[in-house]
């Protein structure tokens, strides 16, 4: 099978088609898109108006307006994605159980990986649709200037990867819980912890680390926070690279002079690496949990030898 055929067969999953058809036929699908774009557009316009007012007094150019609006929109979009993604993915597997359709799926030929993959793609596809529908808004702001193409691409990739991470984690929790309500509640708690919890804890640990070893490097916990990564990408054109040996030193709150060995990481690179690891772990966990719903296959028994059979009798 060629690579193209393999890629094609990965998306030839009945659950993807079924969930997409089913979701897009509901009244909620256009409502969520309208709500999402409405909130994003209103927020963007409010920031634009405020920046315009402030810039008229400070005589700032369009580049400054563009940078401010783009930055505000990027943060707001990640926050909205963190709000929508758990709701879309947390009921994916537990909902099958509640609807009493899960057993029927388990007796079909579809594998546990196929079920989890299909559910993940179906959930993420809708989030991607939200991100795609917002692209014209970002493109319009991009015309003001103040943001280069690399910043634009990294922002969008970070947003999408964050959406996939939240969806994967929610899917894992959906496989872990029998009912959708606890799965949804814990998914929102996990998303909140990832966004706000790591910001607060990261800031506190950074303060402690700076007190112990000096310097102005941040604690690695902030490296897993997509909001911090966005903030660095959009505000600091030169980035905020930190050597991995220094990150390890900060991780254990080690004292002494700052270490400089090992490859250098940008916060957005660190965030993406951690998110990829989280996605792989969550999907693997979900597959194992779904596989656990099917009884394990017993090893085939070898036919007993004549002597053994006689001895047994």
């Amino acid at each position: 099978m060629s690579l193209r055929e393999r890629a094609g067969s990965a998306f030839d999953n009945p659950l993807i088609v079924k969930d997409a058809v089913s979701r897009m036929r509901s009244w909620r699908a256009p409502l969520v898109i309208t709500l999402y774009l409405g909130l994003l557009g209103s927020f963007g316009y409010a920031i634009y108006a405020v920046t315009l007012l402030l810039s008229s007094s400070q005589r700032a150019g369009s580049a400054q307006i563009g940078a401010s609006v783009f930055q505000a929109l990027a943060f707001f979009q990640v926050a909205l994605i963190a709000l929508f993604a758990p709701g879309l993915a947390a009921g994916a597997i537990s909902g099958e159980r509640e609807r009493q359709t899960f057993d029927v799926l388990l007796v079909s030929r579809i594998t546990a990986l196929g079920i989890v993959w299909g559910k993940l793609v179906a959930s993420v596809a809708y989030v991607l649709l939200l991100v795609l529908t917002a692209l014209p808004l970002f493109a319009a702001v991009f015309l003001f200037g103040g943001i280069d193409f690399e910043q634009f691409v990294v922002t969008q990739v970070l947003t999408v990867l964050t959406a996939v991470t939240i969806a994967s984690t929610s899917l894992f929790l959906s496989a872990a819980f029998r009912r959708s309500l606890p799965a949804t509640v814990t998914s929102y708690a996990a998303a909140f912890g990832g966004m706000v919890g790591t910001s607060v804890a990261g800031a506190l640990l950074t303060f402690v680390a700076v007190q112990r070893s000096g310097g102005n490097d941040v604690h690695p916990l902030l490296f897993i926070n997509p909001l911090y990564a966005l903030q660095v990408v959009l505000n600091n054109p030169n980035g905020a690279p930190v050597a991995t040996s220094r990150l390890l030193q900060l991780l254990v709150l080690g004292s002494g002079p700052a270490r400089t060995g090992g490859p250098v990481l940008e916060p957005w690179q660190g965030t993406m690496m951690v998110e990829v690891v989280l996605i792989v772990a969550a999907v693997t966990g979900a597959v194992l949990l779904v596989r656990g719903r099917r009884p394990p296959r017993r090893p085939r028994r070898e036919p007993a030898l004549e002597g053994e059979r006689e001895a047994a009798t």
Partner: protein
């Protein structure tokens, strides 16, 4: 086609299945009868590869369920006692979805789905959304769903549960049609009249233990004994008394009892029915009807699962 040997299953301290044994020959409709909680669903879930037995073995088409569940899934169509449907999918899309899940080739899915909708008499509801169908229609659609990969064995757990009389009759006819198509069918139910006219084999399970298994006629006979029903052209008291006297005392006759409209004669296994008829005719007793008396399935179940009865 289905063979279950010494199957055991425990849920905590409760013994759900206790050395359950039975087999279902190919092409038969096996009625799996027992009260709620007797172990029917546990057995079916093991056969459907959804649960693992603690001990014993089960095979479908010669394939061990525990050792080759993938192979068994190819052979088995399973319809659970309760199942949901997806919202906002049409009946046709619903079946196409499950056909895809069972690996039916993309080019064949639509045709398979259309043929199955015709089979279960839902051809005209192909474009209706599944959640708008009546309970009976959903059950028929569920049966069609179990057939998407053309399995040779069907496991139907309480297929007529919650259906109105008309829907039950339709479901019964559908199961008969599937037997004509060569399928081996295991139907569980605790509603005996539902199975009485449908099944060719029957197995009684009670409190996790098999009480009786075999062809329907044998089970009825085993429960009720072999009985002949004799109706006379003259149903007067004198004629019935004369006929009773002529029958009683003959070799192989266990007893004669009067029933409404005639006599019921309990006979030993291997008794020559035709000899008794010939004897009555020779005695110039005008016989209007002479046939084996059939006990009801419910009667057989009560006798076999009554106090003191063992396998």
């Amino acid at each position: 086609m289905i063979a279950v040997e010494a199957l055991e299953k425990r849920f905590g301290r409760q013994q759900a299945l206790d050395r359950v044994d039975f087999s279902v020959p190919q092409g038969e409709i096996f009625g799996f009868v027992g009260p709620n909680g007797a172990g029917k669903t546990s057995t079916i879930r093991i056969l459907a590869t959804l649960a693992l037995a603690d001990a014993g073995s089960a095979t479908v088409g010669g394939i061990p369920v525990a050792e080759d569940p993938h192979g068994v899934r190819e052979l088995v169509g399973y319809m659970p006692d309760f199942f949901g449907v997806y919202d906002r999918l049409t009946s046709l899309e619903y079946l196409e979805f499950y056909a895809a899940c069972h690996g039916v080739a993309r080019r064949r899915r639509r045709r398979v789905a259309q043929e199955l909708l015709e089979l279960v008499d839902l051809g005209e509801r192909a474009s209706d959304q599944v959640d708008t169908l009546s309970r009976g229609m959903k059950q028929r659609l569920g049966l069609a769903r179990a057939l998407v990969h053309d399995p040779s064995v069907l496991l139907l757990d309480e297929p007529a549960s919650g259906l109105d009389p008309r829907a039950r009759i339709e479901m019964r006819e559908l199961v008969r049609e599937l037997r004509r198509m060569g399928k081996t069918i295991l139907v569980s139910s605790h509603i005996l009249p539902e199975l009485e006219e449908l099944c060719t084999w029957v197995g009684f399970i009670d409190a996790g233990r098999m009480v009786a298994v075999g062809p329907m006629a044998d089970i009825r006979e085993r429960a009720a004994g072999r009985r002949l029903r004799v109706e006379l052209a003259d149903p007067s008291e004198a004629a019935l008394a004369a006929a009773g006297a002529a029958i009683e005392g003959r070799s192989g006759v266990i007893g004669v009892t009067r029933v409404e409209g005639g006599l019921e004669v309990a006979v030993e296994t291997g008794f020559g029915d035709q000899d008794l008829l010939r004897h009555l005719v020779r005695r110039r007793i005008a016989v209007r009807a002479f046939a084996p008396a059939m006990g009801g399935l419910a009667d057989a179940f009560m006798r076999l699962t009554g106090p003191g009865q063992e396998t």
